[in-house]
Symmetry: C2
Subunit: 332 residues, 2 copies
Amino acid sequence: MKKVNLAVVGATGMVGRTFVKVLEERNLPIENIYFFSSSRSAGSTIVFNNKEYTVEELTETSFDRGIDIALFSAGASTSEKFAPIAASKGCVAVDNSSCWRMDEKVPLVVPEVNPQDISWNQGIIANPNCSTIQAVVALKPLHDKYKIKRIVYSTYQAVSGAGLSGYNDLENGLKGEAPKKFPHPIAGNCLPHIDVFLPNGYTKEEMKMVHETRKILGDNSLKITATTVRVPVFNGHSESINVEFEKQYDLDELKEVLRNAPGIIVQDDVANNVYPMAIDATGKDETFVGRIRRDESVESGVNLWVVADNIRKGAATNAVQIAQELIKMWNK
Amino acid sequence: MKKVNLAVVGATGMVGRTFVKVLEERNLPIENIYFFSSSRSAGSTIVFNNKEYTVEELTETSFDRGIDIALFSAGASTSEKFAPIAASKGCVAVDNSSCWRMDEKVPLVVPEVNPQDISWNQGIIANPNCSTIQAVVALKPLHDKYKIKRIVYSTYQAVSGAGLSGYNDLENGLKGEAPKKFPHPIAGNCLPHIDVFLPNGYTKEEMKMVHETRKILGDNSLKITATTVRVPVFNGHSESINVEFEKQYDLDELKEVLRNAPGIIVQDDVANNVYPMAIDATGKDETFVGRIRRDESVESGVNLWVVADNIRKGAATNAVQIAQELIKMWNK
């Protein structure tokens, strides 16, 4: 098997550190690994597979050494500038920012859902938004079988999705301190406000869920609306997903479809208080689906409760899975 | 104005204490007031309008003294037994439990929505479930104007809705202690589980929202589905409400309809990060509505974010408002 040279861009952030952990766990065939960051964090060290590495400052020449895959999680402006530079040097940038997701030349990939889209990449592959990833993992097998007509998303998103400063806002807020990252206290509160507001009254996060779901499922006819909410949970996004299908379904069969789908663990035994929870999903790579029940308010509808670790499946794990798919493709 | 004799049943619980506070604030024309509880709490004292009262044990003869109105918040089994006894003595029981809500002979009342239903009471008036009250306050003016076809509820409910023991579970859970009231930790977690599970896979709380919304709005044709979720918030329920109308609407007009409706404060200035929040609604009697935006996934739909103090408007305030309406009616 061909070994690859791999880089992590934004190695010292919350997602960056999880990249390192997931890369170790999944034992990728890595020849050389490089860690990049802004000048501010350059010089710090990272331990990968028991070896210490110095984090280098990201520059325009960083990719001039035969890097095959670069996992980016350093914000949209870094990705906007450096992902094309990486691509121009023959590297594939797997980008966790929102910068390239809706670019028609850039595949937006969840490996359980649309791995085939990796093949047409032109040097950049976008990692979807955390809240979208776990949703489409759950929805894809149902869309294939029953054809989704409409989706109503309401999310319960953890503060880790806002990075370390979001995490600190909750931790310090519980001690009575004022928030620094969020515009209002998150401790003991719910904020219907993730990312910036757009002219249509929706947040960017809400519109990401609308547009990215359509692109990943490859169906622009899907009717979708979303309300995205930050809740005082440290890690693990939960989602209330209401789905309307074109075709009729049998509930037991639908549950079986979910059970047999890749990346999903069905947790749905309400008699024993078993349902997906953020504290259980944390540290895991799967998407957890439960509270599966018929919505009697439409002809063919279902309600789902979908939970995943937003830093792992919602960011780092998904990007590493894309890297694994790339390597598999190159080794064919 | 005729003064009334008033009783509070379940005076020492979380809602009971708030009854006392709201009764003081609203300055009802009270001749005599009595406080009742189970034998366990009997003998404790309650201060009302600077006067100390001893809590009496509730018995079958408690209402044999010309009590006009009794506010019940002592659980469904107490209400089941004692509300008919109170009614048989000429008292009107305003009951905060779920016991009588769906009884066809019992009006289910939110004074801003269906005050006219008070007139046909036969001695028991039911106070709706907290999550339903705030929803119908927001939905009633829109139903009148645009005729609601379908509602999708997803709730973000505070632990105070589960009483003092729910409150303690969050407080102690934040210090790392195991929960006593909830089946799983609520600190740093979301539980898609409020009240018991029913054979159809929904919780009782979810079906309350479906049935009570229909009864209060007086429209059994309404299509409704709900997902109710406990979040780690001490007080104040938030709700993501997706509504589909039969008629078309103009968004500015719809906002104006909400602004002019009773009991509603519109907080919807996203450019300045203004939207309803649990920490702001706490201690207030109004229902707060914001994030008002067109749902483009249906022909005529809107998304709302609705927040209220579940102990005040969701329980105590609503019951006291019903008492006020009764007194108004008797004085006509």
